[in-house]
């Protein structure tokens, strides 16, 4: 059985370490990135099977990162995580879903919630992605 590789994109090291501990215990391989730009570069380099992406990050925030990843890697499952809004007042996770995240987790989360979401996305087949459907979903949201 091939070990699944998961990319963690979060500017908060505490979050990355915690998720790494939880996911490594569950048998996943972890690569990390501190912001969206690094995350996109890491996807190109290490070809992860799943990405867990924070929303509020410096340099390149999560919504834009998720949108770009969905366009470059339509089949790549993405889990959006967020601790809330620092400056804005939107429900970022809902927007993240609209832009391509297939699961969302609100910080803080339990190990069960993380592993449940990751396992579900890696097991189920990726839905067919088309630019038109994506655009429709975005405009409807």
């Amino acid at each position: 059985m091939t070990t699944k590789k998961i990319l963690l994109i979060d500017d908060e090291k505490l979050v990355r370490v915690t998720l790494t501990r939880i996911l490594v215990r569950a048998g996943y391989t972890i690569v990390e990135a501190a912001n969206g730009e690094e995350g996109i570069a890491e996807v190109a380099r290490s070809h992860p099977d799943l990405v867990i992406c924070d929303i509020l990050m410096p340099t390149k925030e999560g919504i834009e990162t998720i949108r770009d990843l969905r366009r470059s890697h339509p089949d790549l499952p993405i889990v959006a995580i967020s601790g809330g809004g620092r400056l804005g007042s939107c429900d970022f996770l809902r927007h993240a879903e609209q832009f391509g995240a297939r699961a969302t987790l609100r910080k803080p989360f339990s190990p069960e919630e993380v592993l449940g979401a990751v396992g579900r996305l890696l097991d189920e087949p990726a839905p067919a992605f088309s630019e038109e459907a994506f655009a429709e979903k975005v405009s409807a949201g």
């Binding site: 908060e12 505490l14 979050v15 370490v17 915690t18 998720l19 501990r21 939880i22 215990r25 509020l56 925030e61 919504i63 601790g83 809330g84 809004g85 620092r86 400056l87 804005g88 007042s89 939107c90 429900d91 970022f92 927007h95 609100r106 910080k107 803080p108 989360f109 339990s110 190990p111 069960e112 993380v114």
Partner: protein
């Protein structure tokens, strides 16, 4: 000026008429004088003729030469010459043309009269009386006028000529009585135009060559043989009005001329006087006219200035009235000595008094009422003492019951003697102004509250984010560690406490985030009564001892809302009510109604408790985040703030009031679904 012109014309016309009248009068005078002269001349010559005839008869009776002896002749002559006073002398010239005898002693005996015209005529047979031209006397230095008659013998032969001499001075004396003026003309002339005595031409010019036709020309005399005419005398160039008459039977004419110059002298003097008077009067009239016109002009200017001033005054009054209407400000003035009070029309409107109301201080105090009376009296007292008092505001209740807020300002008018002679003031109806100020203050308070809530929300959101990140390892790794510990062990129990604490912290942070979020929630038609029903059991389980709950929920309170958020509103309000009751006993009542008597219709969720209620300070801050009356550690101060945020994000409102009989009531109003309009709220990704 036109009248003056007309009067001038009339004057000129009258002057012309006067001139014509003067000339007419002069003509009549000349004619009358000519008649007088003619009569006098006729009488004179006739008298002389009679004397001559008598004398000639005497001499003729001496029909022989002897009888005509000079002595006898002289005796006859002497006897007759005395019959007329103006008869100067009588001389008898014989048929041989020599003087036979003369009453004038100086007549030379040897005078030969054969060359004389009268002698020749009589010798030739002329039997009438002839009057000769004035001739220098042969024996005296004076002019004489000879009047002659033929003397015949008894047989009818020529016996000689009897000559009567009249002193010309006699005529002159009479001429002078005719008053023909200095340049007048009096003349006698014979039938052949030979001049006899005349005046004013002096004796030197009287000679045979002087004839009447030289005076005026033959045409003039021919056209006016008897009557009057006007002509210029070529000899002296004087314009004259001349009257001429023939002396019947004497082959003689008389002439009286009046100088036109002299005739018109009186008229001219009069005219000059009139002209001077008229000129003076004219100047006076012109002066008066100019003065009058000047006065009229000044009067017109004054009238115009008064009219313009009146118009300006009227405009200013209208402007003032309009300005007072716009500003709802009246003006008044008080005479502190007489107590007389006057005020502008706006004062009546502000006080709601009829125009028939007569302003007095007493009436003013009655209008303002007892509450403001002392203040107003103090204001007037200060003004009377010469001080500008501060403005005074008071309420006035109108006769129709409406209360108006009035602001009164005044200041004294100080005389040069440093006395207050009047107090002028304004009274402004500031009711609307104060109302607007109150509304503005309320809006400012609301805005301030909203800004504070927004700032707190932003701060809370930021804190929540960091807290959530911090809680990730606490919750995540504690559970991982717990999996390796045996169940029931003390270490595992400790870690469970860690997880409980972290979970509480997470919930707290989620409350903060719920408060700070303002985005449009996921909305769907929600029946508030059903939300209450669904959560009722859970709420009952959480009730402390002694507190009970009641619900009165009517169906139909359907709103467009996020179900979970409505549930949180109910839970938070009930939790707050239960905590307000404290250890109880008490009752929390939840009621839901649909109000359709307003537009738009509203769903009303009411949660009331029987606790101690709130004071005004607490009630004014009850929705502020982190405001709590509970001891430190027992309340977060976020429950009601979250409720406020949720309700307002749904387009609703929440009110807090004290419950009659004790306790607090929270009323939540949300738009009913049929009238609810979801307004998208922009999303901020930054």
């Amino acid at each position: 000026m036109a009248i003056f012109g007309l009067l001038s014309f009339m004057l000129l016309f009258q002057m012309r008429q006067d001139r014509m009248a003067a000339l007419t009068t002069a003509t009549a005078t000349a004619d009358r004088l000519a008649r007088v002269l003619e009569a006098h001349t006729r009488e004179t010559v006739s008298s002389v003729g009679a004397v001559l005839s008598t004398t000639a008869l005497h001499l003729g009776m001496m029909n022989d030469a002897a009888a005509l002896q000079p002595e006898r002749v002289l005796a006859v002559l002497s006897a007759n010459v005395r019959s007329l006073p103006y008869l100067k002398a009588l001389t008898f010239i014989g048929a041989d043309a020599l003087v036979v005898a003369s009453t004038h002693s100086k007549v030379a005996d040897k005078i030969d009269a054969s060359s004389r015209d009268y002698f020749q005529k009589h010798a030739a047979g002329e039997r009438g009386t002839l009057i000769g031209i004035a001739t220098p006397s042969l024996v005296t230095p004076h002019l004489i006028v000879p009047i002659t008659q033929r003397v015949e013998t008894a047989g009818g032969d020529f016996a000689g000529v009897l000559v009567a001499v009249i002193d010309f001075r006699y005529f002159e004396a009479f001429f002078k009585t005719l008053s023909v003026g200095e340049r007048g003309l009096v003349a006698l002339y014979s039938g052949d135009n030979a001049m006899i005595p005349e005046t004013p031409f002096n004796e030197a010019r009287i000679d045979a060559a002087v004839r009447t036709d030289r005076l005026f020309g033959a045409d003039a005399l021919a056209s006016a043989v008897e009557g009057t005419f006007r002509a210029e005398t070529p000899l002296d160039g004087v314009d004259r009005i001349v009257g001429i008459r023939e002396v019947d039977g004497l082959f003689l004419g008389v002439m009286v001329g009046l100088s036109v110059d002299e005739v018109l002298a009186g008229w001219r003097d009069g005219t000059r006087s009139h002209a001077i008077v008229w000129l003076a009067a004219g100047c006076g009239v012109v002066g008066l006219t100019i003065l009058l016109l000047g006065q009229m002009h000044r009067r017109d200017r004054v009238t115009e200035a008064l009219r313009a001033a009146g118009e300006r005054l009227c405009r200013n009054e209208q402007h003032l009235t309009r300005a007072q209407n716009v500003s709802r400000m009246g003006s008044w003035e008080l005479d502190p000595v007489s107590g007389q009070l006057i005020w502008s029309p706006m004062m009546y409107r502000i006080f709601g008094q009829p125009k028939s109301f007569r302003p007095t201080i007493g009436g003013l105090f009655d209008i303002v009422g007892p509450k403001a009376r002392d203040g107003l009296q103090s204001l007037l007292d200060r003004a009377i003492s010469g001080v500008v008092p501060s403005a005074l505001e008071f309420d006035v209740t109108r006769p129709d019951g409406e209360t108006r807020r009035c602001r009164c300002k005044c200041e004294p008018v100080i005389s040069t003697g440093n006395k207050t002679v009047a107090i002028v003031g304004t009274l402004q109806d500031v009711t609307e102004q104060r109302r607007a100020e109150a509304e503005r203050l309320d809006l400012e308070r609301q805005l301030q509250q909203a800004l504070k809530m927004e700032a707190l929300g932003t701060l809370a959101g930021g804190i929540a984010h960091d807290l959530n990140n911090a809680l990730v390892p606490v919750l995540g790794l504690t559970e991982c560690v717990m999996e390796n510990l045996p169940a029931g062990g003390a270490e595992r129990a400790d870690l469970e406490l860690v997880i409980d604490g972290a979970t509480r912290a997470r919930d707290l942070v989620r409350q903060i985030l719920a408060f700070s979020r303002k985005e449009a929630p996921e909305r769907e038609p929600v029946d508030i009564a059903k939300v209450v029903d669904m959560g009722w059991e859970l709420l009952l389980r959480a009730l402390p001892f002694g507190v009970r709950m009641e619900r009165r929920c009517a169906a139909g309170a359907l709103v467009l809302a996020d179900h979970s958020q409505i549930d949180q509103v109910i839970v938070n309000l009930v939790t707050n009510a239960v905590q307000a009751i404290g250890d109880g006993p008490g009752t929390v009542t939840v009621s839901v109604t649909a109000q359709r008597d307003t537009a738009p219709g509203k769903a009303r969720l009411t949660v009331e408790d029987t606790g101690p209620g709130m004071d005004e300070t607490t009630r004014s801050r009850v929705f502020e985040p982190f405001f709590t009356t509970k001891p430190v550690g027992e309340g977060t101060g976020l429950g009601l703030a979250v409720v406020h945020g949720i309700v307002t994000s749904h387009g609703g409102s929440i009110e807090c009031r004290n419950r009659p009989g004790g306790g607090t009531v929270f009323d939540v109003f949300l738009p009913l679904f049929e009238t609810a309009v979801a307004e998208p709220i922009p999303c901020d990704f930054i």
